[in-house]
Symmetry: C3
Subunit: 334 residues, 3 copies
Amino acid sequence: MKQNLGSLAEKLGGRVLGDTSIAIDNVASITAAAAGSLVFVEDPKNLERALDSSAAAIIAGEFATKAAGSKPLWISSQPRLTFARAAKSLLDSSGRAHAIDPSAIVPASVRVGRDVAIGPRAVLGEDIKIGDGTSIAAGCVVGDTVEIGANCRIDANVTIYSGAEIGDRVVVQAGAVLGSEGFGYVRDSHTGRYEQFPQVGRLVIENDVEIGANSTIDRGALDETRIRRGTKIDNLVHVGHNVQIGQDVVIAAQTGLSGSAIVEDNVIIGGQVGIADHVRIEGGAILGAQSGIPSKKVIRGKGVVFWGTPARPIREYLKELAYLSKAAHKDSRH
Amino acid sequence: MKQNLGSLAEKLGGRVLGDTSIAIDNVASITAAAAGSLVFVEDPKNLERALDSSAAAIIAGEFATKAAGSKPLWISSQPRLTFARAAKSLLDSSGRAHAIDPSAIVPASVRVGRDVAIGPRAVLGEDIKIGDGTSIAAGCVVGDTVEIGANCRIDANVTIYSGAEIGDRVVVQAGAVLGSEGFGYVRDSHTGRYEQFPQVGRLVIENDVEIGANSTIDRGALDETRIRRGTKIDNLVHVGHNVQIGQDVVIAAQTGLSGSAIVEDNVIIGGQVGIADHVRIEGGAILGAQSGIPSKKVIRGKGVVFWGTPARPIREYLKELAYLSKAAHKDSRH
Amino acid sequence: MKQNLGSLAEKLGGRVLGDTSIAIDNVASITAAAAGSLVFVEDPKNLERALDSSAAAIIAGEFATKAAGSKPLWISSQPRLTFARAAKSLLDSSGRAHAIDPSAIVPASVRVGRDVAIGPRAVLGEDIKIGDGTSIAAGCVVGDTVEIGANCRIDANVTIYSGAEIGDRVVVQAGAVLGSEGFGYVRDSHTGRYEQFPQVGRLVIENDVEIGANSTIDRGALDETRIRRGTKIDNLVHVGHNVQIGQDVVIAAQTGLSGSAIVEDNVIIGGQVGIADHVRIEGGAILGAQSGIPSKKVIRGKGVVFWGTPARPIREYLKELAYLSKAAHKDSRH
């Protein structure tokens, strides 16, 4: 919904230089900006392009104060963050309908909060609790006794197995599977056949976690899998049974965490990283894309980037790569 | 549907040596060929096996002309291609029913072309356009204002988010997710918490693109994600926000492309390749399986094969591997 | 359902020291054990913790016989296996309702065995056969002529393409796709465009196979893809067309097998492994996580662990890593 620049800035902080009454109805990149667009500039060298664009107003850092004049400037110490919040505010006010579609299957034992939306063809089990303002899209299947907090968004065709506990403001994108059975088998030493180890533990997803499309999160085997507050998980990520992920962790696409791995707070994990069973990644470590952490290893070092398989500090890894290239080249000329 | 060899060849090109009236009703490998089977031979050394098989007729290259006699031969300059087209013709003529299942949810605002099939339980949003001859299978969820061109095939349980634009003859296999929100967050420097950067851009999938099962394609953040004409994508592939993929690109299973990566025309990408953000793969390059391209790199070289992480020309990589093996072996004997 | 220790042990083997009449109604880890819990101890050093826990009874090896007294001990030569079987027995006896939900679409041509459960919104095609005791959960889409054996469990939102054959006691977790079209194209040398090679073969999944969430298994191109008896596949695994997987193979998450790969019996494959086309992994080999097997390679060696890309025996790989680290370090000090 359209809002004027002044009221947005009043809500989100920062100060406006210029006309606060100008109407904003969308966010855009500088290239695509049109009438009504809000854009942002972090790097001073993009300011001129923003001023020359069709944008209605610009969010920028302190550096921009001198440029006041041709367009309203919204000065913020974190322009990208302010831009993100403004976008959210513009979208939130769109006033979506919240209703339980008559084609959804919602047993009488389900306890539903206020302003809950349940999409067409969604199938809910028994004794589920759903908090205020949560939406569950078309085609979702939610098992018995699942608890979903307030203001969550569960997109289409998501499957949530029985017993999962999901906090507030959790986003789960389409096709993700939460609470599946982990990969644990016992081999009978007589017959050589594998039999399933019980996968009857819990899955707990805390507040503000976001999970990408077609990712899979297994429940605990006997105990629990837990993803803590604020952690963000991209598409096609695998989280095995009994994994513990801390707060404000970021995990890029196609990474996999094997059973009983522990990832502490504020870790950043690139795409296609492989974390074996019983690994511990200590707080604040950074794992480069495609790196691999072998079974039971401990990765230490806040702010240290690790790369390669087996993962080592990136400086060592780059040194090895450089040496190998040089030595191989020299060798081949003999 | 059964067709005779002569009419198939007339439609698809090439010339028949022998009985053109023979009836063909299936395609098969030489091993599995039965009565009515059409097989193909690219390598002259397989011709005898094909002649000895139960196949009704053989597609082969010029080399086979001398072998005329025991079976009809359909001579083609591209036997495998002619075989693929013959298979398509035999399957296409099977006359599938095209209907909108009464259990599908299709709002009045949806504009549906002729001969459109919408499967049971499919859920369509408002203001969708669907071109002639397109089928949308059971369990699909299609968001508002999505446009799907003509003669597309959307398999079961696919999710298409609002606003996606899909061209003609596009195939999307089961469970794929198109138009999900990309993985973009802004960290508040005061609280340390991540907040979503707006993911409100577009997704455009051009004509003749094919997308494998359970792959995920994110929409643009502010601008667009685009997959150009004729590109083929395998299963479980991840395409991040703002990615641009050119024409006739081939991407094997489990490969991931991070945000804003650019892949130009005619690139061939193996399985499990990782392409970081803002990478550019120039036209005609070939990326070996599991290779990794670090952030912002440019990969140049039409027809050059790259391998390893970080990816380098395969000749260099193999040289390094050979050197390392030799040096390590020598060292361990001291 | 609650059972007493004596009757469990009678059913599953082993002998009980102590009170056989004690009631068991759940399995647990030692840490989480409560009244009615059955726990197990493989390592003698955990026995004391188990005895001190709130568990009702303990499964343990011969070593525990001396500890008899404070709690009933169920002595077994394979404690973990006995525990797994006890868990299964406790869960199996829970007497789930088996019924065909009225909202499922089940054409008259479907042949359904006894005690079959078909969940809400499941969509079945024509001429399907379903064996006794099998359950198909909500949101599944099953194509025409699919055959599913007895006592299978197909979880929510699974898609099974037409013609797939599935044995007995097969488990398929949520979101998996079985029988999709493989990734095979022919490039027209004149136009440069890719056209699909026919993907009309079969998919056969034998008895006791288990497949994880969101995994994708392609059918054969002309012939068949086959997964043999007892093989277990984790989440997000890709199995390409014409792949042959032997008996009792274990494949961890996010591994991919390209077209026509052959994996023989008893192979163990870690997570994120890449197996290229036409590779053969001989019986009993072990592939470490993230290793890669290039096209057409043969991997030999029962019980030998392979690692790296290209995969080599792990002793060689570790030797190379150690040499490289040492040499690069030395070099950088000059």
